[in-house]
Symmetry: C2
Subunit: 535 residues, 2 copies
């Protein structure tokens, strides 16, 4: 497949881009293999870039403003074009941004829409943008080996928090002597451990029919099993979609809004995840017991619980570096299937069965922790937003594929840049630090009462009600912390976002061989560029 | 009446005070005319003070831990006391704090409870604590004449925002030539004004039956009437009580919590008040029209709207000094009946018909503004909390009585201290300033979408889930702003709160002539002292 086959119209003049809460921009629209580019008219001094992978759903509406001219016999579709016809394309992005393009000419409109649909649905990993993106300030292989798991295992020699998939007892209640022995070696005689199963007891029993199951008491006499059912899969995805829809409803009554907030059940999932993580942390910290966490596969809700428990217990995980290590270890290397789970976001109608915002739920829980403990996390909300954006559409390879095996097959670490390498550049890093951070050696026990759980407005209302003033407040606080000798160059970061400097070099070139400018290097996803400079 | 008649037991030994989230304190309980005082045992190094006026409801539960001994014939109640009997008194305070006193001896318990009930219900203004309180750092008459209304009227020469009570058209549709002439003089020929009536059109029509009514079009041809119904009176009080009850429920499910939050309708009232204030501000700012606001009496929802509209429009009202002037002008001098409205808070079962938390609703709306515009208000959340506390129970005379006439009759300005005098002392003032404030000359239009309105956790969850970490974050930000040459002496302020220094002198003395220590001078209400030092 060549990208050029998917691009039916590469350039359209006189396109009007509308973004909620921002002035509209008129200009020339270009479609490249990986980006939409709008160059403003008449001066062309503004370039707006959108990573096409960020498009979640394309809605089109064509209207004939002139008269209808039936096609002549033997004529092509092109002949039906009449002056005055136009179309509107609504792009619902994975990061929840909504953009509108008004395109003159019905045919162009349909062509642009189907090009975007095709390009955003390419599912071959090695055709994705990270394999083409070569920012000048980074070199390949930088940032890929943050914290080898061996080193981590040496650090936590007691290995008290474990995770696994379910035991495969099946309908015949098979035993696995190796598993029993393994779990037996962890506990000394008379010691006790807890198995936290993230499924209901009933669901765990039912899993036997398809070969799964639970640890029978008789085989694991020192382990006590606790069931804490956490939502996953389709219901979680629907919860996310419902909440996003409710957030976007214009001017609902308070009653309707609270009803829809409740109906989405998202905050219940946040509460349940935090509660279960606290349970695991309590077993470890207060009871001094070993804990094994699993659900079915051990790659979704399991990771939610183990990653949050570590964040609650271990101050080392609450630094920027430690948190990156935690994500590497507990999400990426542990095999959370990012490609399947984050293929589509809240708006897509073509949802697969495998999508689920488990990672978003984790980020939301981390945000709740950061709100309740404003001093204890070294990173701020901006990092969490950037992680979400990159998990769903990215210029970096960090969240590509579903597990280490796939990443190895695709040579992700050899052929793409690491998000961490970008984030950890000194100037870039500044944006993600919490200016109020001070090392807190204690366990941070969050309140999990529903009265204490809040909607993450900075994420769910990010593009609807820009939190401009709150963002500015954080910038101001950071400025204060750094004193007058501040090294932050705000002009720099905004010029990166605005995309005026096009110094990026792409080395490999399956891109359309058009004389198009290069996308700007940046935090990516480039989606930011469609709104940046005004937030 | 003498206070001594109301105090049935003045001193009880070995009382245990429990406060949620804080360690219990055992000590000697003393009841004075205006305060409960607990001196910790054995060392007596901790004195906890509670202004009795702050008590909203007293609940008692006695239990006989020993055996029951029937009273002997002719014996008094005292004779029924048996060793081992005890009682628990729960004090629900107007500032939503909940305290428990365990008192040995059934009779003492009943005596203490009825003493507190009687003292907290004294309704003679001149018996209240502000008439006895004489802090050493202040002199009487200081702070009482912040901004004489005449000066304000000179400043706003166009007088474009007006308020009044309803016109008294009555069932016979009387006209009032003077009113018509007055409103006529405001508008030049061809100009247009808006009357914002804070009642529904139906309620306004019904008001004719009791002598009230609305401005008929025929008599006020240049004025256009808009109805925006705002809740008031009993339904508003019930909304407040419902929300407080919901906030206090331990461990509800998320669904139940959101259901109760919705059922209380409090956030709807916040939204409605802000929306109506925005409407008034828009008529003034965008349409350039004069606006008259009224409901029925013009002393409740009317003030809510005019005060909020001024805060939105006028940067001068957003300074600490300007906000105090706004409160003086639009609430106190305008005749909001504080004594009737704030006699009881959310917990009292003996609610009168006149209670309504209109002022709290205003403070909540101001908090929403401060959250959406973190730079634009010179004062922070702590001021709003202090204002609520003092409106309901205070050592100062500022919120006493229902109007200027009553204040003059009671000689409030001559015989009590002004809250503003206390707040404006340089060291005290620091606590109420917003460290991020920078003058913003623009109109601040808040988002009034329900998605943007948040529960004011700092108020509603103040004693349930102490926001210790968030408070510390603000202290830290203030410290940063002030640099290393900080003049805040935290030790000082906490010693004031803890009540260890008892240098206060009371000049007049209807107090019980007991050898009791004096209450500490402080921000008051002294209630703070029952929890301070740990928040």
């Amino acid at each position: 497949m060549e990208f050029s086959e998917l691009i039916k119209t590469a350039t359209v003049e006189d396109v009007l881009l509308s973004r909620p809460g921002l002035p509209a921009v008129r200009g020339t629209l270009c479609i490249t293999s990986h980006h939409l580019l709008l160059s403003s008219c008449p001066r062309g001094d503004l370039e707006l870039w959108l990573l096409i992978r960020n498009v979640d759903a394309v809605e089109k509406r064509v209207q004939n403003l002139g008269w209808y001219q039936p096609p002549r016999t033997g004529g092509s579709l092109r002949d039906t074009r009449v002056s005055g016809s136009s179309g509107t394309i609504t792009l619902r992005c994975k990061d929840l941004k909504v953009l509108q393009l008004e395109i003159p000419g019905m045919e162009e409109c349909l062509n642009v829409a189907s090009s975007i649909e095709a390009l955003s649905s390419v599912d071959s990993v090695m055709m994705m943008y990270p394999f083409f993106y070569r920012p000048p300030s980074l070199r390949l292989q930088q940032g890929w080996h943050l914290c080898p798991p061996e080193r981590h295992f040496q650090q936590v020699a007691s290995q008290a928090l474990l995770r696994s998939s379910q035991p495969l007892t099946g309908p015949n209640r098979r035993r696995c002597r190796e598993d029993e022995k393994l779990l037996g070696t962890i506990l000394a005689e008379g010691e006790r451990g807890f198995v936290i199963d993230t499924r209901s007891a009933q669901a765990a029993r039912q899993a036997r029919m398809s070969g799964g199951g639970t640890e029978p008491k008789s085989s694991y006499p020192q382990w006590r099993r606790l069931h804490r059912a956490l939502e996953r899969g389709r219901p979680l995805q629907e919860s996310f979609a419902k909440l996003v829809e409710a957030c976007g409803e214009p001017a609902p009554s308070m009653e309707r809004w609270l009803g829809r907030l409740d109906g989405s059940r998202w905050l219940s999932h946040v509460k349940a995840a935090l509660s279960t993580a606290c349970l695991a942390a309590q077993c470890l910290d207060r009871e001094g017991c070993s804990v094994l966490v699993h659900g079915a596969e051990g790659t979704d809700t399991t990771l939610l619980v183990t990653a949050l428990a570590q964040l609650i217990l271990d101050p080392a995980c609450r630094t920027l570096e430690g948190f990156q290590g935690l994500l590497e270890r507990e999400w990426i290397e542990a095999g959370h299937p990012f490609q399947l789970r984050c293929a589509r976001s809240a708006s897509s109608h073509a949802r697969g069965k495998q999508e689920a915002p488990t990672f978003l739920l984790f980020l939301d829980c981390v945000w709740q922790l950061s709100r309740q403990f404003p001093f204890s996390l070294e990173f701020g909300e901006q990092l969490l937003l950037t992680l979400f954006d990159n998990a769903y559409a990215s210029a970096y390879g960090t969240f590509l594929c579903n597990n280490e095996r796939e990443r190895s097959l695709c040579k992700v670490k050899e052929s793409t840049h690491s998000l961490w390498a970008w984030l950890n550049q000194p100037e870039e890093k500044q944006k993600y630090l919490n200016p109020l951070y001070s090392h807190n050696p204690l366990v941070i026990w969050p309140s999990v009462e529903p009265q204490s759980i809040q909607l993450w407005q900075g994420f769910f209302l990010r593009w609807i009600r820009p939190s401009q003033h709150l963002d500015e407040a954080w910038v101001e606080i950071r400025r204060l912390v750094e004193g007058n000798s501040s090294s932050i160059k705000e002009g720099n970061s905004s010029s990166i976002k605005e995309g005026n400097s096009s110094s990026t070099k792409e080395s490999t070139g399956k891109r359309l061989s058009q004389s198009l400018p290069e996308p700007p290097a940046g935090t990516e996803n480039d989606a930011e560029a469609w709104t940046a400079g005004t937030r």
